[in-house]
């Protein structure tokens, strides 16, 4: 008899503790917002970063943190947290607008490797974050499952259902491949933002090696290879170089 109530009780306790944690986090977040509106950006950032350190991944939190970093002049971290916020909410207009604004003031203006004709494709992929892919994959998986049930239940209607079943099955499979591919790729080649004010990019993972280019904070990079504390990375125009990984923070 007791056993019957233990599991629901545990669940309720867990839910209550989570709600209490969320409420406590919300209070901290609101206090940080108060500091921000009073232009006490450093205090606000202390609270925002405490929440981030707790492992809370929230687009509002990232957005406000980015704003705070921008206000104190750390554009590298500002770009980083806008990117983190966009990863969760790719369609948020304010995040995109602020990110565009902060990027317009960056020291490095890097032209993408492929300029003409690829802008539309690049814009499309800027919205196709992993979460969107996962969402679409779940939707098409559910549709595919529904079609399969109907296909099994109504043998007479199979000719009609076959097309829907095939299309939803292909889309589900393609999206599943996209999710897996994207997750694996971002794990092997994570994207990051340069957070150090100025970085001398080296030709090899040795401090004394030749400086091939100098980059500044806010520049987006993608890791190509890791070797100890050093990373080989590429920037949007295809140039590559080595730097110590503490000069950058990673979005993924």
């Amino acid at each position: 008899m007791m056993k019957r109530f233990i599991f629901p009780a545990l669940l309720m306790l867990l839910a209550a503790s989570q709600a209490a944690g969320s409420s406590d986090s919300a209070q901290l977040y609101n206090r940080a917002n108060d500091h921000y509106t009073k232009k006490e950006y450093h205090q606000a950032l202390d609270l925002y970063t405490e929440l981030i350190d707790r492992g809370i991944e929230n687009p509002l939190l990232y957005y406000n943190t980015a704003n705070g970093y921008y206000r104190i002049g750390r554009v590298g971290y500002a770009v980083l947290y806008y990117e983190k916020a966009l990863r969760i909410r790719p369609f948020d207009r304010e995040i995109r607008k602020n990110l565009r604004f902060v990027r317009s003031g960056l020291t490095d203006r890097i032209q993408p490797l492929y300029e003409n004709g690829f802008t539309l494709l690049r814009t499309f992929f800027s919205y196709m974050k992993l979460r969107i892919l996962i969402f679409l994959e779940i939707v098409f998986f559910t549709i595919f499952a529904g079609f399969l049930c109907l296909f099994s239940l109504f043998p007479v209607q199979r000719a009609r259902l076959r097309r829907g079943l095939t299309v939803s099955g292909i889309l589900f499979f393609v999206l599943l491949c996209g999710v897996i591919g994207s997750a694996v790729y971002s794990r092997i080649h994570p994207s990051g933002i340069i957070t150090a004010e100025e970085v001398d990019v080296k030709s090899s993972p040795i401090q004394e090696s030749e400086t091939v280019l100098t980059l500044h904070e806010g520049t987006r990079i993608r890791v190509v290879e890791k070797r100890g504390d050093w990373i080989l990375f590429s920037i949007a125009d295809g140039r590559e170089g080595w730097m110590v990984n503490t000069n950058a923070a990673f979005i993924d």
Binding site: A19, S22, S23, S25, A26, L28, Y29, N30, N33, Y36, T37, L51, G55, I56, E57, N58, P59, L60, L61, Y63, N64, N67, Y70, I88, E94, K97, N98, R100, F101, V102, S104, L130, R131, I134, I138, F141, T142, A145, L148, C149, S152, L153, P155, V179, A183
Partner: protein, 622 residues
């Protein structure tokens, strides 16, 4: 020829020679004969100059005089940290003399090395070691002093073995830079264009020294990464020319300046008068640009130094906007363009003046360079303007004072103001900036996000179990459902199997009906229903029609029931007989208890048969 044949032939060819080589007697004899007649008379080393500049080269000649030696090894050079070997060549001269009937052959071989110093100072070069057989010869060390700059500015020097005329070489290949009048004002532009002129076949060329322009603000215009040849006539001769470097200098202080020359290391193919030297030989040397001397005159004193922009030369100002009408609170872009031959980097954010209240921000600065008679620099300031009051808005640029080199006077310049029509309601206090959809927020970043009651974390779905659980549960349910449906469809297609599977359910349904009939005091009907249940069960299980299960066929039919045992067979037969007996006897004499017992027996028997059938996998009991 077969493989074996080939091997035999090779063995026949090489074995005698191998035997001859490894036999000790002939080898020793031959060596003694050589040692007796060969000798080295003299080995010496010399350089063409004891004092050179860091940009020059020095030729080291190692001369070896031998007697009766046909082939000589190369001498071993000393460790030369302060020099690099650019070029090396060998020249030999042989003379034969006959004295008292004895013939002797004297050969002098000169090994020539062109050395490039890498650092300044005094160095002791040598000794150069020469080994022949078991003998070792060495030269005296040679002293060389390397000083700064070049000691041979007249042109490249030719190595001894190559009969290259330095003056001719200097006429055939040179770097030319023209400073114009050579007299400019402080802050005025001095464009310098370094151009390579050549009439020779250039094998390779690389930058040795980039000139450092101390005392100048430098604007790099062009640095060659590859040679782009063009034909050009200079002093009556046609040359192949290539731009090497273009730079614009702005002198920071008055005075007399001599910028360092640009030095290239060139490797050209030089042909000599030797008939065997028809293809020419490579020759490496340093090539310096001509000296440039610039006299920088001071600017005349200005009455108002604070208004002077620092521009010396020309300055043009323009103010434009892509739109002439704008709503209050919305953004409009205004460009202030400055075009000058002076150092335009001295002007930073001049700002704009508005006739009405409004907000204005510097969004971007674009720089361009245009080449003409003089180099013009364009700096475009992009301002984002947000008007707050409707009406006519005048946007004016400040005036700039610059020094005009043509007139030699300070000039105040500006441009006509820009007029904008502002529409919409006036904005009173501090309100959020409303920007166009695609426009970048002009006032900076947008406001912070609102307060929340609960701050939900949104971890990546891949890091939560929900994603995997959802897929797993749906997949398992779906697979079970599909398997069930497949089996069911298979069953539906096999009528016999279907009947067999449904026999128990059908029989139990009928027995339930019989119980109901019994409750309604209709024992006769109940008996008939029990009989039907038993007969249908046997029929379904054996695949025969129920009407074919009669007293005559019952035994054969019962044998076909899957999983039936001998006691069950007897019980089924007994049940069938009892049903038949009661049915064909007087129904009124049938009591309820007997029928209920029959129903119970039937239920028990069917249950027992089904259990046995399941245990045997649906097969009849053997």
């Amino acid at each position: 020829m077969t493989g074996t044949g080939k091997r035999i032939l090779v063995a026949l060819l090489f074995i005698p020679w191998a035997l001859l080589f490894f036999t000790p007697a002939p080898r020793a004899l031959a060596a003694r004969a050589l040692a007796a007649s060969e000798r080295i008379i003299n080995v010496s080393a010399s350089v063409d100059s004891g004092e050179i500049g860091i940009l020059d080269t020095v030729t080291l000649s190692v001369s070896v005089e031998t007697e009766n030696i046909s082939r000589l090894p190369k001498p071993r050079l000393p460790d030369m940290k302060a020099f690099t070997v650019l070029n090396e060549s060998t020249q030999s001269q042989t003379s034969i003399s006959i004295v008292n009937g004895k013939t002797s052959r004297t050969k002098t071989v000169v090994f020539t090395y062109v050395l490039q110093p890498t650092s300044e100072g005094s160095f002791l070069l040598g000794p150069v070691v020469f080994e022949h057989g078991s003998n070792r010869y060495s030269t005296d060390p040679v002293s060389i002093t390397v000083k700064s700059g070049s000691r041979r500015r007249t042109g490249p020097s030719a190595p001894a073995d190559l009969q290259v005329d330095p003056e001719k070489l200097a006429q055939d290949i040179f770097i030319r830079v023209d400073p114009g009048s050579g007299k400019i004002f402080e802050g005025e532009q001095l464009p310098l264009s370094y151009k390579l002129y050549s009439r020779l076949d250039i094998d390779s060329i690389s930058l040795k020294q980039n000139p450092s322009f101390q005392g100048f603000y430098i604007e790099d215009l062009f640095n060659a990464t590859k040679l782009d040849y063009q034909k050009e006539e200079y002093e009556g001769r046609v040359y192949t020319t290539s731009r090497i470097k273009e730079v614009v200098l702005f002198p920071l202080k008055p005075g007399r300046y001599t910028p360092e020359p640009l030095v290239l290391q060139a490797r050209v193919i030089v042909t000599s008068d030797d008939v065997f030297d028809i293809f020419g030989r490579p020759y490496t040397f340093n090539l310096s640009s001509n000296d440039v001397e610039v006299e920088v005159a001071p600017l005349p004193p200005t009455p108002d130094l604070s208004s002077f922009s620092g521009i010396v030369g020309d300055l043009e100002v323009d103010i434009t906007s892509p739109s002439r009408t704008v709503e209050t609170g919305e953004t409009v872009t205004v460009y202030l363009t400055l075009k000058s031959t002076g150092n335009i980097n001295l002007i930073n954010d001049p700002g704009l003046q508005l006739s009405h209240e409004g907000r204005i921000y510097l969004s971007d600065t674009i720089q361009e360079k245009t080449n003409g008679d003089k180099v013009w620099f364009v700096k475009k300031f992009e301002y984002t303007l947000i008007p707050r009051k409707s009406g006519k808005l005048t946007v004016a640029s400040p005036d700039f004072t610059f020094f005009d080199t043509k007139t030699g006077q300070y000039v105040l310049t500006g441009t006509d103001p820009l007029f904008l029509t502002v529409m919409g309601e006036d904005i009173g206090g501090e309100k959020p900036i409303r920007s166009r959809k695609d426009a970048v927020s002009a006032g900076g970043i947008s406001f912070i996000k609102r307060d929340v009651k609960i701050l939900h974390g949104r971890p990546s779905p891949l890091s939560t179990p929900f994603y995997y659980l959802y897929h797993l549960v749906i997949s398992v349910l779906l697979a079970s459902f599909v398997v069930y449906r497949i089996r069911r469809e298979k069953l539906e297609k096999n009528e016999g199997l279907l009947k067999m599977k449904r026999a128990r359910r059908q029989a139990l349904t009928l027995l339930t009906v019989a119980e109901e009939q019994l409750l309604k005091k209709r024992p006769g009907d109940a008996l008939g229903t029990v009989h039907r249940a038993v007969v249908n069960y046997i029929g379904d299980k054996t695949g025969t029609r129920p009407q074919d299960v009669t007293a005559k066929t019952i035994d054969a039919s019962i044998d076909g029931v899957p999983g039936i045992t001998a006691p069950a067979k007897a019980e089924l037969r007994s049940l069938f007989d009892a049903c038949m007996l009661y049915r064909f006897s007087n129904a009124g004499s049938t009591n309820d208890a007997a029928v209920r017992e029959l129903i119970q027996r039937s239920v028990d028997l069917i249950g027992s048969l089904e259990r046995t059938s399941r245990q045997n996998g649906g097969k009849p009991d053997k």
